[in-house]
Symmetry: C2
Subunit: 191 residues, 2 copies
């Protein structure tokens, strides 16, 4: 029988329940590692048998980058809905419509809260370009289940999103191989 600190009880010390505080995490800035750090959380969380769901904005539907390949092998849903363009799009209406459609899927998933972690990859662009109202995003995040983590990546995170987030990291470029040596993006590292 375990002796407890609070005098004389012969009952074992009850473990504190693992109270999970769902966090809103934003990875922003001009540097590398925003999506990559979100994938790192997925890796950790998968190691702990968390339920994970990732939505990718912008990136081509049907993309087969390293992350999609890994996710498929591990049965982690990554849902990409985009045409690969943002401000460079030749059909801006379509680019915007895809982002809005993707947001509605995200919103349903966030409010439903069936997963432990939901990642909205490159979602900030949809906010920055005004395709999704920031107030709608913030309201959805605030109405999510208490224990749901949401990770949002991308440049130009609007201030209202930062205000409602728990953890915000800016990835800042110090040195880059493209710029300095003309090296192309490396498979398995950057995509």
């Amino acid at each position: 029988m375990t002796q407890t600190k609070n005098g004389g009880s012969s009952r074992p010390i009850p473990r504190r329940p693992r109270v999970r505080h769902g966090l809103v995490i934003v990875n922003t800035g001009e540097g590398k590692g925003k999506t990559t750090a979100a994938l790192g959380v997925i890796f950790r969380a998968w190691g702990r048998d968390f339920q994970i769901r990732m939505f990718q904005f912008i990136k081509h539907t049907g993309a087969r980058f390293g992350e999609q390949r890994a996710a498929q092998k591990l049965n982690i849903p990554i849902e990409s809905l985009g045409d690969g363009f943002t401000w460079l799009s030749k059909d801006m209406d379509r680019t915007e419509a895809l982002a809005v459609e993707q947001w509605h899927r995200c919103k349903d998933a966030i409010l439903e809260g069936k997963e432990d972690i939901i990642v909205l990859d490159e979602f900030t662009y949809a906010l920055h370009y005004g395709w999704v109202p920031v107030v709608d995003a913030v309201d959805t995040l605030q109405r999510r289940p208490d224990d749901l983590h949401v990770i949002i990546t991308g440049r130009y995170a609007p201030q209202e999103l930062i205000d409602c987030a728990d953890l915000v990291t800016e990835m800042k470029l110090i040195k880059h191989p493209y710029e300095e040596k003309g090296i192309r993006a490396q498979q398995g590292i950057e995509f």
Copy 2:
């Protein structure tokens, strides 16, 4: 029926040869996401069947965080050799000796170059505290096989390391849940 990307062309598009330039990548700064982004690269690289090996400095040997659990399930070697302390160590000689021993293992692996990616997690502390000479680290990186990627994480990356790196990102803290709301580190997210 699967739709191919290059929709209907009868001739395969010739693929450019995949020349791989091994990169030295440094994730540094005071913010979150340094180790996490390295894990994200591991996730991607694993998706492409790369051979990966991760060495962790500082962290306790036998740590069972999310990343160790995931790596074990995926058969990715993560070798931790540390006592969990840096400047707070009560037995500094031991802390230093473990770091030096771990560095020698890393050095062998880097020069041997059997893997595609080698991660030296929290290695910068060993450099910062003078346990491993920076000149030894830089020399080893420069003598590595051309196609080997090496990722180094941790605060206080010395300038000589930054000078020899290809890609350096500073993770900068913008907002943090501990500080602002007193929330504890969340399992599956931060460890």
